[in-house]
Each structure stands twice: as structure tokens, then as C-alpha cells.
């Protein structure tokens, strides 16, 4: 069976204009990720990890180079076009959870499907929340949930649209040790169950070690790309 690449990044560069002149935060980064694989992007603060994640997930546009996500060149799409790709193919988990504070846990999970105009997926949302251990907290608002619980809601939301690729930005950065451990187990468990490609941005080398590939960045450039 031939495994197709899900993410193909070529000579990706991101430059920001500043008062002191252009600032390049990412310089000619290239790599390809196969569907179903797991990959960690690591590096010190300011190395360009989050910028790379943003570009790969279609949250931002590159200054040069290309990003092909699920067979579509997303650099050439406008913001709404990239939003469509995100909705159809991408799941996100962020360090600070990013739940909508005015929606309950259940409603937060349903948002990606509602955006597509899909209805009648309540069972699936309920199932996912039960899978992450929050079957009893469906009607709770984010403010009533602990950090770990909020991150589990975010994980359930990330999987509700059956994404082909899951981007996680420091998913355990705001969690204590035990909670972080449980969270990582959940991410990898769900990833395995659903055959999703996983891209992790992290400082945590132990967490990075659980992926099959580690890309190291420094000063906006790839300094190593290892398969573990």
C-alpha cells in the first residue's frame, strides 16, 4: 500500500516587517509528512516552532515557499479557502485550550460540525466527551472546568470533524504532571484509533520522544530531522 503525503512543506520562509527592517523568523524549511504518522517540532523559544505550525495549519500565509495540506496548496488560498481546509481536514489542540467561554463543553465540541451545517451529530459529540472522560460534564461551561478538563474538551472538539491531521501546540504546557500524562495518553490513543496524522509543537522532549519523527528548529531553520 502506498502511503500518501498529508503535509508537504517546501522552502517555507516567513518574514515580518519591523521598524528595524525585515525580520525572518522561518527560513527555507522543507519536510514532508506521510498520512498517519506522528511528528514533533521542537526547539528553544523563538526558534519559529509556532510560526511553522501556524503556516502548516493554514492559520497564516508564508512569505515564500509552499505548504501542501491534504493535497491542496494552501499558500495560494485566501483566508476563507484556508478556513474551509481547516474545517474539513484539520484538528487543533492549543496550549491555552481556546474553548469558547460562552458555550458548554458539549456545544464547544459540536462547533466544527455546526460550521459545516451538519446536524444530528450529538451522539458522536457525546461519545467523544465520554471517551475523554467528561460524559458527566457535558453542560458545564469552560470556567467551571479544570485546565485538564478544558484540554480534554479541546481534544474532543479536535476529533469531532474526523480530521486527517491534528496539530497540537504545547498541549501539556498549562497542565500539571499527572494531568499532562493522562492528556498525552489520550492524544496518542485517539490518534491511533482514528488514523490521524499528528503534529506536535513542544518543549517537552519526553513528549516529543513518543512521536515517530522529531524536527528540530533553531533560529528559524531546521537543524535536524530524525526518525525515532
Amino acid at each position: 500500500m502506498i502511503v500518501q503525503p498529508i503535509l508537504n512543506v517546501q522552502r517555507l520562509t516567513k518574514t515580518y516587517p519591523t521598524a528595524a527592517g525585515p525580520l525572518t523568523v522561518l527560513h527555507e524549511v522543507s519536510f514532508t509528512l506521510l498520512a498517519g504518522g506522528t511528528c514533533a517540532i521542537v526547539g528553544p523559544s523563538g526558534s519559529g516552532k509556532t510560526t511553522l505550525l501556524g503556516l502548516c495549519a493554514g492559520l497564516d500565509r508564508p512569505s515564500s515557499g509552499s505548504v501542501e495540506l491534504a493535497g491542496r496548496e494552501i499558500g495560494s488560498l485566501d483566508e476563507d479557502g484556508r478556513a474551509r481546509v481547516r474545517n474539513e481536514c484539520v484538528g487543533f489542540v492549543f496550549q491555552n485550550f481556546q474553548l469558547i467561554p460562552t458555550l458548554t463543553a458539549f456545544e464547544n465540541v459540536l462547533v466544527p460540525l455546526e460550521l459545516r451545517g451538519e446536524t444530528g451529530q450529538a451522539e458522536e459529540a457525546r461519545g467523544l466527551l465520554e471517551r475523554v472522560g467528561l460524559g458527566e460534564r457535558l453542560d458545564h461551561y469552560p470556567v467551571k472546568l479544570s485546565g485538564g478538563e478544558q484540554q480534554r474538551v479541546a481534544l474532543a472538539r479536535a476529533f469531532i470533524n474526523r480530521p486527517r491531521i491534528l496539530f497540537c501546540d504545547e498541549p501539556t504546557g498549562n497542565l500539571d504532571g499527572d494531568t499532562a500524562h493522562a492528556m498525552v495518553d489520550l492524544i496518542f490513543g485517539l490518534n491511533r484509533e482514528r488514523g490521524t496524522t499528528l503534529v506536535l509543537v513542544t518543549h517537552d522532549l519526553e513528549l516529543a520522544g513518543r512521536t515517530s519523527r522529531i524536527i528540530r528548529l533553531r533560529s528559524g531553520a531546521v537543524i535536524s530531522d530524525e526518525t525515532t
Binding site: 483566508e79 478556513a83 487543533f92 469558547i100 460562552t102 460550521l115
Partner: protein, 838 residues
């Protein structure tokens, strides 16, 4: 769509009470619009329902002379019933020193045929034929300090007041203020001899026509048949139309005042939405991250904006209906009759549409930002969205301008007035925005180093990020501007009126002085120590032709635009050798005597009448001077200062040509004290009872009363703008409360006392309130100057005490409101506030 609605609703969960408060900004504006418009509709409905009651008959014909038998026969020939009435203006005296100008009337026959008559006690009018009984309007009883059973003297005759006239067809509330109606029986009126002495009286025939007969057609025929009589005709339908037009104008202008409150409220809603959207930045970014398009995000918050508009408008409907009850109470003495409360659905729809429409338009401005919120906010909290010019912003500004213009033009039925209103609003907004930006600039650069810390911090709050300076300047400044303009214009007008009798100018006028009464009047005046200072002969005449065409032809010709009243009216003209001090020739040369060999008499015409009759120098016109034709030519055009308390004339003839014509005189006197005025008035009323006297002091009092009533009604509506400004202020303070709490907590943690926090707040709101009020005051002074100079043509007053009082009051209101809205911020322990508010 379903998701957008659902999301818009869900997103308000944590802030519904706050959003409701924001929506309150437009409640008063919508309420004012609905209240005014509903009242207008109720009045129009009442006018329609009581149309015939306005005149009391189907048709009336009136003239200055007693009807001849031929005229009466022709009037009777119209069919139906006829009643005859006569009215004259005369002085009533009462007690030892009391006197007042009254409208003495008597009616014979079944008048009024339509409409209600209300007297206290009921049926008092039936007691008139019993003898020298009178039923009088309440204004007379009040000023005379009389009660029913009291006595008044009309000419030589004493009358007993047997009732109070509360309601009577054709009764005018304004006329009652100047000269209250006194109704007596016809024989009693004739017995006073007041009609025989040439006083200015009006004889009216009232006709009640059979149902099948069209009053308009009868009017046309009678006009034709009685052309030579020069009668004035009126039908109930015409009265209805005239009143309808007047009401339309009044309500159009007052609704603009309401619209201003709505407009200001919409600015408040938009500002609240701006802050709200900034707080929703993360939510929008998350939605964008999860695949929502820019349009979806925009639609969610637009739905909320519309919801706010709808909520505010719905509350406004309730308040507007309540206002409909309140307005008639305020306008009680200015309305022609009682009105019934009617729910006007068109007015409600219009108010709600204006509320939702204007707030939606304003909400679009902050909502445009939603389209540009990047999903990158979820990765970096400090991410800054791109800041390039947005052409849609200009489109929204244009739409707001068009909406303001459209509303004003529709209300006033004049695109010019619509444009003037929009331009005035544009200028006000520009000045207030400029002042706000100037204040921010100044606060940033002001050398506050020597001020105490609390004042430095307070002043800094004016320019720091997320300040509400612009919004507060706008809302408070505009409110102050509106209210103060009304007060200033009123005081300028009153000051001008008071100045009319100042210095050497006369303050007492005598009318209807017969030729043989002139010498006795002079004697009385000299005897009472108040000599006459000016005497003008008055000759009544009518226009018979204009530039070769007869007045009748011109009236009948629908293609010409000359006003019918100017062609039909009776002119009271004078002759003089020289111009008066209140007059100035602006074209031609005034002739005090007829030049030798002149075929036509050179007359001087007043400027506005020349414009109305489209006459210029050299144009020929013919007068009918009580049966004698006089050929004239326009020799000069005069500007007349009508506001002077003296007799002014449309036409002034030279000496000579009018000699021998029946003449009456008007005379003026300057009484040094009110006691002199009263003494002379009483003496004239006693000895020359047909002579009408007008006392400037009394007129001033009346005008002041009317101005006060109108100003009170308009100020009541304008105060909606100020209250809206305060609601916007409360919203603005609450919007920034979150930030203030954090700062207060931080300062408290660092050791700040509660008193210090209050001082900071006091400093900030003092600076804001003071400048907003001063800018609004400055705008009001400018508006007063422009209105006084160009519209009312009176000198504009610089009323410093009023200005200072208004500025102090608005500043105090700002501080109190700011303090109330910030209550609790400084009074709780830091940790508790952090948990509760952040």
C-alpha cells in the same frame, strides 16, 4: 444561518445584562420618535374626527362690515341653517384698577352646529339672554382675580360673569392668551355701543348645509356672487387641512430632536459593540481556526447588533407609548383640543425601523473589524491584525450620512432642510471629535509633573489605551449642545422682546382711535402724564389690480403663484411725509408728496410683500380705498423692522392722495412705570371704550409664557439627548470597568487608599465632563449666534451665567454618573474583585 443565529444567541450568555444595558442607549431615542409620531397621528386622527368642530359649521363667511340684506339673502340661499356672530376687541375693566384686552363676541342662532361646547357650570351660555351676563375664558378670570358671579365692565356696561368657557368650536389657545373670549348676548353687545364707534369688529355668518350639499362648491359660488363684498370664507375642510399642515410641520421638527437622541444612542451602541468585539477577539479567532469564514464571524456579531437594536427599540416602544400620555400634558395649553390615546402602528413600525436601522448601521463600523481578525490570535495573544485602509468603512460612513439625510428630508419634506440638518450634525460631530482628539493630545503632553499623583493618574486616564474620551465627548457634548442651544435662543428672543420697550421706545399702543377721538385721547394722555409720542393715520384698502390684471382674475388663475391672502386681504395703510426710524429704503426713492404731473401715486411697499406679490420698482397697481379707486406705482421698496413695538405698514402713501378717505388713528406712548401704564389704560377704557390698548409689558409676559411652554416641551425632548448621553456614559464606564478593576486592584495591592482611587476617578471625569460641556456650550453659542443672526434676526446674547451654569451642571452630572457606575471598584478587597471581575 441556523448556526449563526444559534451562535449569536449563545455568545451573549455571559453578558446579556450588560448587552441589555448597551441597548438602553437607543431606548430614549426610539421612545421619543414613537411618542412624538404617535401623538402626531393621534392629533391628526382627532382633527379628522372633529373636523367640523374646528369651525363649528360647514362654512363661514366673515367681513369687517355688517352684512347687507342682499348679502344675507345670498348666504341664506345656500340652504340649510345660518347663524350670525360678531366679535370685537375691546378693553374689559374690573375691580378698582384691573383691565385687560378681550375678544368680545356674541352669536345669534344655532351656532355652533358641530363640536362640543363646555362651560362651567354646564349650560352657562343659555343664561346669556337673561340680561347683562357674560361667559368668559378662564384666562380672564385668572388674571382678573375674579370668580363666577364677579363683575366686569365692557364699555359703559357692567356684566356679571355667569360661567367659564372651557371649550368652544374655533377657539384658539394662543388667541385666548392675548385676548380671552368674553361671550355675551347679541342685544347686550349692541347695547354697549362698542360696535358703533368704529372699533375693529368682525361679522361672521355661519352656515350649516344640508348633507347632500358640497361646502366647497357653495364656497366657490358665494365667492363669485359676493366678490364685491370681499368676504373671507372658510370651510371645515380647509381648517382641517391648515391645521393638518401645521401639525405636520411641528411634529416633523420635534421628531428631529428625537432622532438626535436616537443617533447619539446608536453611537453609544456602536461604541459598546466595539468594546464587546474586542473582548470577543479570542472567540472569533477560535471560530476562524475551526473553519468559520470571515462572513460567518461577521454575520454572528451583526445578528447580535441587530438584536441589540431590536431589544432597545422594543423597550423604546413601551416608553414611547408612555410618552404619548405625557406629551399632551406638557403641551396642554398649546393643543387645539383634547386628544384621545391611540396606538399608532405606523409610528411604532417607523420608530422600530429607525432604531434597528440606525443602530445596525453604526454597529457595522466596529463589526468590520471582525472580518479581519486572524486565527493566529489563538497562537499568540498579542497578535496584531493588519491595519490597512478598509474601503467598506467609507461605504458605511456614506450610508450613515445618507440615512441621516434621508430621515431628516422625509420628516421635513424638504431636501434642503434634510441637508442642513445632516450638515449641522456632521459639523457638530467633527467639532466634538476634534475636541476629543485635542484633549487626548493635550493630556498626553500636558506638564502634569507638579500635580498630585491622583490628578496625574486621572488626567492620564484620558489618553491611555481603551480610553472612552471620544465617546464621552460625543455623547455629553452633543446633549449639552442641544439643550443649551434651546435655552440660549429662548433668552436671545426674550431679551430682544424686552428691549422693544426699552429706552425712549413706546411701550403702550392705542388702536381704533376715531378721527374725532384723537384730540380727546391726546388730552387724556397729557392729563395722565404720559403724552402720545407718535400718531399714525390708518386707511383700510384692498388691492383691485396688479400690473394690469384684476385681483379677482389673479386669484382665479391657478397658474400664477401669487398668494391668495395677499390679493384678498384688507390692507391697513398709512401716509407720511418721511420714513420712520424703523424703516429703510432698499430700492427706489421714498416720496413724501406726489410729484407734479404724476399719473399714479408713488407708494412704498414692504420688502417681503413685494417679493410675495412679485412687484418691483415701477410696477403699477390699483387700490380700492373704501370704494374710491387710487392708481399707484411702486416708487420704493422698504425694509421694516417689524419687531419694534409700533405700527408698521405694508404700504406707505405720500401725503395728499388719501386726504378725505375714512381714517382711524393708531397712537403710541411711553409710560415710565407700570403704574402710569395702568392709569392711562384705565382712563382710556373709561372715556374712549372702543379704543383698544396694547401694553408691551403685558404682551411680553404673554410671549414669555408661550416661549416657556414651547421651550419646556422642546427641552423635555432635548433632555432625552442628555439622558441618552448619560446612559451612554454609564455603558462606557461599565465597558471599561473590567480594566479599571484590574488597575484599582493593582493600585490597592501597591498600597493605594480608597480615597486616592476616588480622587483619580474624580479627576478623570472632571476633565472629561468639563471639556465635553464646554465644547457643547461653545457649539451652542455658535448655533445661537447663527440662528439669532440669520433666522430670527435678533442680536445674539452672550449669556455667561447660563453658560457657566450649564457647564457646571453637566460636569457635576458626569462626575456623579461616573462615580455611581464605578461603585464597588475601590470598595472591595483586591482578591475578591479579581475573582469576581476578571
Amino acid at each position: 444561518m441556523n448556526f449563526i443565529l444559534k451562535m449569536a444567541w449563545r455568545d451573549t450568555r455571559a453578558s446579556r445584562r450588560r448587552l441589555l444595558l448597551y441597548s438602553l442607549s437607543i431606548v430614549l431615542g426610539v421612545a421619543a420618535l414613537i411618542g412624538i409620531s404617535s401623538l402626531g397621528d393621534s392629533l391628526r386622527a382627532a382633527v379628522d374626527a372633529q373636523a367640523k368642530g374646528l369651525l363649528g359649521a360647514d362654512l363661514s363667511a366673515s367681513g369687517r362690515q355688517k352684512f347687507s340684506e342682499t348679502t344675507l339673502t345670498r348666504l341664506r340661499a345656500a340652504g340649510g341653517e345660518m347663524a350670525l356672530g360678531v366679535a370685537t376687541t375691546t378693553m374689559a375693566t374690573f375691580g378698582d384698577t384691573g383691565h385687560r384686552l378681550v375678544q368680545l363676541t356674541a352669536v345669534e342662532g344655532g351656532f355652533p352646529f358641530y363640536g362640543d361646547v363646555e362651560t362651567v357650570p354646564a349650560g352657562a351660555l343659555t343664561r346669556l339672554p337673561e340680561g347683562n351676563n357674560a361667559v368668559v375664558e378662564e384666562a380672564l378670570l385668572t388674571s382678573a382675580g375674579l370668580a363666577i358671579g364677579g363683575e366686569i365692565k365692557l364699555g359703559p356696561t357692567r356684566f356679571t360673569v355667569v360661567g367659564v368657557l372651557k371649550k368652544y368650536p374655533g377657539q384658539s389657545p394662543f388667541a385666548a392668551m392675548f385676548a380671552p373670549r368674553v361671550q355675551v348676548s347679541m342685544p347686550a353687545l349692541q347695547a354697549t355701543n362698542l360696535l358703533n364707534r368704529g372699533s375693529l369688529s368682525t361679522h361672521t355668518a355661519y352656515l350649516k348645509l344640508p348633507l347632500a350639499i358640497d361646502a366647497k362648491a357653495v364656497e366657490r359660488k358665494l365667492r363669485e356672487d359676493l366678490r364685491s363684498e370681499r368676504l373671507n370664507f372658510a370651510t371645515a375642510e380647509e381648517r382641517k387641512e391648515q391645521l393638518g399642515d401645521a401639525l405636520k410641520n411641528v411634529f416633523a421638527f420635534t421628531s428631529l430632536v428625537g432622532f438626535l437622541a436616537l443617533f447619539l444612542g446608536a453611537v453609544g451602541v456602536a461604541s459598546a459593540m466595539h468594546v464587546f468585539i474586542r473582548q470577543r477577539l479570542a472567540t472569533v479567532a477560535i471560530l476562524r481556526c475551526l473553519g468559520a469564514s470571515a462572513r460567518t464571524g461577521f454575520a454572528i456579531y451583526l445578528t447580535q447588533g441587530l438584536g441589540l437594536g431590536l431589544a432597545g427599540s422594543s423597550l423604546g416602544v413601551g416608553l414611547g407609548l408612555a410618552l404619548q400620555f405625557a406629551l399632551p400634558l406638557l403641551l396642554r395649553n398649546l393643543l387645539p383640543y383634547q386628544i384621545e390615546f391611540v396606538i399608532s402602528w405606523p409610528a411604532i413600525l417607523k420608530g422600530v425601523a429607525a432604531g434597528v436601522g440606525v443602530s445596525a448601521l453604526f454597529t457595522l463600523l466596529p463589526l468590520l473589524e471582525v472580518r479581519r481578525i486572524s486565527p493566529l490570535h489563538v497562537l499568540r495573544s498579542g497578535y496584531e491584525d493588519e491595519d490597512r485602509p478598509d474601503p467598506w468603512r467609507w461605504a458605511v460612513y456614506a450610508a450613515i450620512g445618507a440615512a441621516v439625510f434621508g430621515f431628516a428630508a422625509l420628516q421635513t419634506s424638504s431636501w434642503k432642510l434634510g441637508l442642513a440638518f445632516s450638515a449641522a450634525m456632521g459639523v457638530s460631530f467633527a467639532v466634538l471629535t476634534g475636541a476629543a482628539r485635542g484633549l487626548i493630545w493635550l493630556a498626553r503632553r500636558a506638564p502634569t509633573g507638579r500635580l498630585p499623583y491622583t490628578w496625574r493618574q486621572g488626567v492620564a486616564n484620558v489618553h491611555r489605551p481603551n480610553n472612552r474620551t471620544l465617546l464621552l465627548m460625543m455623547s455629553l457634548g452633543l446633549g449639552t449642545f442641544m439643550l443649551l442651544t434651546l435655552l440660549l435662543v429662548r433668552s436671545s428672543l426674550l431679551a430682544q422682546l424686552r428691549g422693544m420697550g426699552a429706552g425712549e421706545r413706546p411701550n403702550l399702543m392705542f388702536f381704533d382711535v376715531q378721527a374725532d377721538q384723537l384730540e380727546p385721547l391726546k388730552t387724556i394722555a397729557l392729563r395722565e402724564g404720559v403724552p402720545l409720542v407718535k400718531i399714525s393715520p390708518i386707511i383700510t384698502m384692498r388691492l383691485s389690480s396688479l400690473k394690469g390684471r384684476t385681483a379677482e382674475e389673479l386669484v382665479a388663475d391657478k397658474t400664477n403663484s401669487l398668494p391668495g391672502w395677499a390679493l384678498r386681504r384688507e390692507y391697513r395703510s398709512t401716509y407720511r411725509a418721511a420714513l420712520d426710524t424703523a424703516e429703510k429704503v432698499i430700492a427706489g426713492k421714498f416720496e413724501g408728496a406726489v410729484p407734479a404731473g404724476a399719473a399714479r401715486v408713488p407708494v412704498s411697499i414692504e420688502e417681503s410683500l413685494a417679493k410675495d406679490l412679485q412687484l418691483k420698482l415701477g410696477d403699477e397697481l390699483d387700490f380700492n380705498v373704501q370704494g374710491v379707486p387710487v392708481a399707484a406705482v411702486i416708487g420704493s421698496i422698504r425694509q421694516v423692522e417689524w419687531r419694534r413695538m409700533q405700527t408698521n405698514f405694508f404700504f406707505v402713501f405720500p401725503m395728499g392722495p388719501l386726504d378725505g378717505a375714512p381714517v382711524t388713528f393708531a397712537a403710541a406712548a411711553k409710560a415710565p412705570t407700570p403704574a402710569d401704564t395702568a392709569r392711562l389704560q384705565r382712563a382710556v377704557a373709561r372715556e374712549l371704550p372702543n379704543v383698544s390698548t396694547i401694553d408691551l409689558g403685558f404682551v411680553l409676559g404673554m410671549l414669555d409664557g408661550i416661549f416657556t411652554k414651547i421651550a419646556w416641551a422642546v427641552s423635555f425632548l432635548a433632555s432625552f439627548t442628555v439622558i441618552t448621553g448619560l446612559v451612554v456614559l454609564v455603558s462606557a464606564v461599565l465597558m471599561g470597568r473590567h480594566q479599571r478593576v484590574r488597575e484599582a486592584v493593582l493600585l490597592r495591592t501597591l498600597g493605594a487608599q480608597r480615597g486616592q482611587l476616588r480622587q483619580i476617578m474624580f479627576a478623570e471625569y472632571t476633565v472629561l465632563g468639563l471639556l465635553a460641556a464646554a465644547t457643547g456650550g461653545g457649539l451652542a453659542v455658535a448655533a445661537n449666534f447663527l440662528l439669532a443672526r440669520f433666522l430670527f434676526k435678533v442680536p445674539a446674547l452672550p449669556p455667561l451665567p447660563l453658560l457657566a451654569g450649564a457647564v457646571a451642571a453637566v460636569t457635576a452630572l458626569t462626575i456623579i454618573t461616573g462615580w455611581l457606575a464605578n461603585r464597588g471598584v475601590s470598595g472591595h478587597p483586591p482578591l475578591a474583585i479579581l475573582r469576581e471581575e476578571t
